[in-house]
């Protein structure tokens, strides 16, 4: 069931493609805003599995706060995560899935021959 939902999401992603993430890219493509890779790494380190990372990210984006931020202390001080732009739930979910799929560790491992 989960896999089917995931597949549907991925299909939607293929068509909607970067349109969802473009809103985020407005900031996240440029310094000093952290890259998705960096953000993903921080979340991965604490939450391990895809599902948990997704839940945590969505949790933050729906109600940004200092406590929920997983970034380094220095960044928190400088960039004020509690002031993060709030988006509608659908956008958040799609964007988060996009990030997670793009940064998926399993896909990034080089196949061993």
């Amino acid at each position: 069931m989960e896999k089917i939902i995931l597949l549907i999401f991925m299909a939607v992603l293929l068509f909607s493609d970067e349109s969802v993430i473009s809103k985020c890219n407005e900031c996240h493509s440029y310094s000093p805003t952290p890259s998705y890779k960096k953000i993903h790494k921080h979340y991965l380190l604490k939450y391990s599995s895809k599902i948990r990372v997704k839940q945590a990210m969505i949790g933050f984006l729906k109600a940004p706060s200092l406590e929920k931020s997983e970034m380094s202390n220095g960044m928190k001080k400088r960039l004020k995560p509690e002031n993060h732009t709030i988006f509608d739930d659908k956008t958040i979910e799609k964007a988060v899935i996009y990030i997670i799929e793009k940064e998926d560790i399993q896909k990034r491992f080089k196949k061993i021959s």
Binding site: K37, K41, L44, L45, K46, Y47, S48, S49, K50, I51, R52, V53, I105, Q106, R108, F109, K110, I112
Partner: protein
């Protein structure tokens, strides 16, 4: 070595060697298991170190800015990583149904080590390391133990044999003493008995008026009995070294002569000795053996029949039977007598000795023996030739 001595020695060796080997084997098995666990523990600690190396490699990979990640491969072991929800992430092997909750486990000859890590570098919550067990040291321990065991067997057997001999030597001495005593006695008995017998017969020849003398008859019958006891003893004693001289014997003729011999005894006891002998019954047998059979059976019949009784002998081509109307054998004792047949209990005088000899001979020639008896009515013993 005597038969009884041999069997005692074997029994002693069996119990002694068996029990000591059992104890030694238990000790060796415990030691082997201990040693095996020690060796496996050692290999497990090696895996632990290798797993720690893997963790630091994962940490470095996590920090790396490269998009593509190359899984750290090692030649000495295989590994795989799992996320916190126990989903397989990656690895250079893909275990089927791994148990991530046990730290160490072993399947067939493969050791597994599961390490939980935090923080989750690359999302890794569990590392599972697989390494084939190096069983060479275990096999070498095993072979050394087996060699040791064989050496121990050898020494225990040696000691047991020596101990057995030591313990048996008093028994052997007394048996030898007894044996020699019987041998000497038997030997010493022969000459006087035959002297008495010949002279009693000579007396009758010289003085015909003594032909019917009761006193002389008793002397004759008593010395004949003595002479038969001598024959039995000599037979038993020399049996194992004797040479069988099997020839065709006319049992009918032979029996008639033997009956003549027993007539004096029957007469002295006033027993009516009748016989019914088929002509020319031929058997292939050692004369000595048929003598022992007939002498013992007839002797017993006469011995256990009261004065004025009857003893009847029948010989046909099928069997020889000797029937008396003597005291008979009790049913309970009858079994014992048969037991004695098979046990050939030589310690019993008279009956036991004679019948055991008969049974030995019957067995040797593959004859059959039958015993019918009723208390106070009499006994009938039959030997079936089974030709």
């Amino acid at each position: 070595m005597f038969a009884s001595e041999k069997s005692s020695l074997y029994r002693f060796l069996l119990i002694y060697i068996g029990s000591s080997l059992f104890l030694v084997a238990i000790g060796l098995v415990i030691f082997f298991n201990y040693e095996k666990h020690r060796l496996i523990d050692f290999q497990n600690s090696l895996i632990k170190v290798q797993s720690a190396v893997l963790v630091s490699e994962l940490r470095e990979l996590h920090k790396s800015k490269e998009h593509e990640i190359i899984y750290p491969k090692h030649s000495e072991f295989s590994s795989a990583i799992y996320d916190i929800d126990k989903n397989y992430i990656f690895g250079d092997f893909h275990p089927n149904s791994p148990s991530l909750d046990k730290e160490f486990y072993q399947k067939n000859n493969i050791l597994f080590y599961v390490q939980k890590i935090y923080p989750y570098y690359l999302g890794t919550a569990y590392i599972i390391v697989q390494k084939s067990l190096d069983d060479k040291p275990i096999i070498s321990v095993k072979t050394r133990l087996i060699i040791g065991f064989v050496i121990v067997i050898f020494f225990i057997t040696l000691i047991a044999y020596w101990l057995g001999k030591l313990f048996l030597s008093p028994m052997r001495n007394s048996i030898t003493l007894l044996d020699n005593f019987i041998k000497d006695t038997t030997h010493e008995l022969n000459t006087p008995v035959s002297t008495i017998l010949t002279n009693a017969e000579l007396l009758k020849d010289f003085y015909p008026e003594l032909e019917n003398s009761k006193e002389l008859g008793r002397i004759e019958s008593a010395s004949k009995r003595l002479s038969r006891i001598y024959d039995d003893l000599a037979y038993l004693h020399l049996n194992h070294k004797r040479h069988y001289n099997i020839e065709q014997v006319d049992i009918s003729e032979f029996l008639k002569k033997r009956i003549d011999y027993f007539k004096t005894i029957a007469k002295a006891k006033q027993i009516q000795l009748t016989y019914n002998i088929d002509e020319s019954v031929l058997l292939n047998i050692d004369k000595e053996d048929i003598t022992r059979i007939v002498d013992n059976l007839l002797g017993n019949a006469l011995k256990y029949t009261l004065p004025n009784g009857k003893v009847e002998l029948v010989l046909t081509n099928e069997y020889l039977s000797i029937k008396d109307n003597g005291i008979g054998i009790d049913k309970a004792v009858k079994d014992e007598v048969f037991q004695r047949f098979t046990r050939a209990n030589k310690s019993e005088g008279g009956f036991g000795l004679g019948l055991s000899i008969v049974v030995d001979i019957v067995k040797y020639y593959n004859f059959d023996i039958e015993l019918q008896s009723q208390v106070k009515k009499g006994t009938k013993v039959s030997i079936l030739w089974k030709k």
